[in-house]
Amino acid sequence: MVDVPGRSRRILAIALGALVALLTVLGLASPAGAQEEDGSREIAVRVEDRQGTRERDDDEPVEGAVITVTDEADEVVDEVETDEDGTGTITLPGEGIYTATLDLDSLPEDAGLPREGREVATVDPTRARFLNFILGDRERTTTGTLDKLPQLIFNGVNFGLIIAITAVGLSLIFGTTGLVNFSHSEHVTFGAIVAWWLNADHDLHIIPAAVLAIGIGAAAAALVNKVLWERLRSRGMSLIAMMIVSIGLSLAARSVLQLLFGGVFRPYRQLYRQDGIDIGPITTTPKVLWMMALIIVVIVVVATILQYTKIGKAMRAVADNGDLAAASGIDVDRVILFVWALGGGLAALGGILFGLQQQVHFEMGFRLLLLMFAGVTLGGLGTAYGALVGSFVVGMFVEVSTLVIPTELKNVGALFVLIIVLLFRPQGILGRAERIG
């Protein structure tokens, strides 16, 4: 390539950009991000500083600005640092809605800042192939981190409730059968995908679709118990071996769901985008409030079942001491079947609610799994109430910790807390002190 001096290279770039823009307007060039052979798409980003004057020629390209692109599950898909021309290329794995965030800390000290909120942009590769960040509309001011606290606590309560509702089943199954079930995450995903299938493919409104999907999720979990786990238990298989079987099942089931659902994020038809509402310092949407209320009601119902009904008492008895429960005339296999159905139904509900907030994906449950384990272990393995408390703590910790640690490391904090708690109180918050090793 010919070595062009910086200035004329910029002019060339602008001219080319203008040409492409013109062609786009004329409908001659596809406006979509350039699609590569493997389905990934490339988008050109540019960061320039207009601080100072209104003259276009004074626009300064910003070198070294970092742009992070995340998908709908907050997983980082790409990250780019702009070159001396203030440009860079981001590669997206495929279609979908992505969020590009300009890291304000990466900007040079003397650069301006984008207009409030404009450091975050939504990227849809089917619609646009350029992304520009314009700086200089705002002076640098420092925002107090504590101002974010109410919002983070609210997010933490919301996330904690979702982990809690999915983790109750995991804990009850451990309590009654001793199985550390790594395939629990697939029960979560299964519920969300069944609801999506009823909702999108069969035109059922999300609410009846969700109710049906929870029923199907409960039935599926009961079936898995009947066909697989009950037989393994009666063969006298060791718990470690069953744990490894559950890993195989998790991988197989997750891949089947991937094959059927595809590797993309899909929203439910209803309750997709809602206008935000402000309650004091907190911004949220009506659907989130309704979901939180629903989870609290369900938790109260589950607690009532556990505490006062015959089957609930039987469940706690089996969890406490299976042999003793069997000796006192409780049909342990029937209780375990009920625990699986309950756990599967709750996992499906959690999956649907999580899908309503973040869209449906075949790995959504798997991404929650370690946080569920953290919550369950934190609360005390095998106790239903412990799972609720522990999950709530984990959800809260994940969100509020972003005050001091980068958002991308928030799950690290929660997993780290798990290890620390095991060090000092291995039986968990609500667990009974007993020898566990």
Partner: protein
């Protein structure tokens, strides 16, 4: 469908760099799980430490490649101490959860944009093994190595032959090391811990220290696998260090036979032969329109389904794998 091509590709994969990596990872797991009964679900964390010790040592800190490869022993041991100290007093199921969490912590920290200057972030680090390939005695392009008188055989590039020579050499060394270890009095204590921890404790042995040593030794062997992984690709990325790698290593271990010195090696070779065979055969069948209900990029997913089902079937019907002894497999002990 070209069966010679399918068989040759499968053989090439079965003895290729990936098989070396998983053989080493599984030999390490064999020390943990097969001999000591420790359920380590975070083996990939050790591979990541090994791979990044070399990649970061050379690329970020400008150290010599050979020094970094040697340093791996220390970094992996440090991880084993950090991981083992708080967790090895816990029951097997707790250990499983904590180790898988630890390996995810390592992956998430390595891919964080915050530490990009040091770790390379999500894009990882590339081209750091120049010193290794500079002393490559092989030269020329891709060469086939076939059985005399047939077309059946393997094909690798000169660089791959060099990686494989060193890699399988390391596998042989690791096997010899494990063979000597488990035959020693120390190894007998490990097996005793696997069978009945309390009995060993009552004999006055410090079970905790033995477990810690076992975790460190298996971890170092796994980390060496990580170095081979990084060097063979001249690239390391955090997302190649996901939990799936640990699970595949378990499949290789269980398939070959846990608590057997050569079990993980055999398991890794057979696993990659079968996995590549399914992969290539399906792709060929799709290309030849024999199979029409799949498209080429779904083949990997189908392979994962089969791997998952395979692990379940193995654990249920043949937990001792190909050459294991049922009495010696930790999973048959009911507790």
């Amino acid at each position: 469908m070209d069966w010679t091509f399918i068989v040759n590709t499968s053989l090439t994969t079965a003895f290729g760099p990936q098989a070396v990596v998983f053989a080493l990872a599984a030999i390490g797991l064999n020390v943990h799980f097969g001999y000591t009964g420790l359920v380590n679900f975070g083996q990939v964390g050790f591979l990541a430490v090994g791979a990044y010790t070399v990649a970061m040592g050379v690329d970020t800190f400008g150290l010599s490649f050979w020094l970094c490869a040697f340093l791996t022993i220390f970094t992996a041991s440090v991880l084993a101490l950090l991981l083992g100290a708080p967790t090895l007093r816990l029951r097997a199921d707790y250990l499983a959860i904590v180790t898988i969490a630890a390996s995810e912590i390592i992956r998430l920290v390595l891919r964080a944009a915050r530490f990009r200057e040091t770790t390379g972030g999500a894009a990882g680090i590339q081209n750091f093994a120049g010193d290794f390939f500079d002393v490559n005695p092989f030269s020329g392009g891709r060469k086939a190595l076939t059985f005399p008188g047939t077309d059946v055989g393997v094909t690798y590039s000169a660089n791959q032959y060099w990686v494989l020579l060193v890699g399988w050499g390391l596998v042989a060394l690791a096997c010899l090391f494990v063979y000597l270890l488990v035959r020693s009095p120390w190894g007998r204590v490990l097996k005793a811990i696997r069978e009945d921890e309390d009995a060993v404790r009552s004999l006055g042995k410090n079970v905790y220290v033995y477990k810690l040593q076992s975790l460190a030794i298996g971890g170092v062997i796994g980390a060496v696998g990580g170095v081979v992984l990084a060097v063979s690709r001249q690239s390391v990325t955090p997302d190649s260090m996901g939990t799936l790698l640990t699970f595949f290593a378990y499949v290789a271990l269980v398939l070959g036979g846990a608590a057997r010195v050569l079990g993980p090696v055999l398991g890794s070779i057979v696993f990659f032969f079968l996995s590549a065979f399914v992969d290539v055969a399906l792709r060929e069948a799709i290309e030849a329109d024999v199979i029409t209900f799949l498209v080429a990029n779904e083949v990997g997913i189908v392979r994962n389904i089969l791997v998952g089902l395979g692990l379940m079937v193995l654990m249920i019907y043949r937990p001792q794998g190909l050459i294991g002894d049922k009495k010696e497999v930790a999973v048959s002990v009911r507790r």
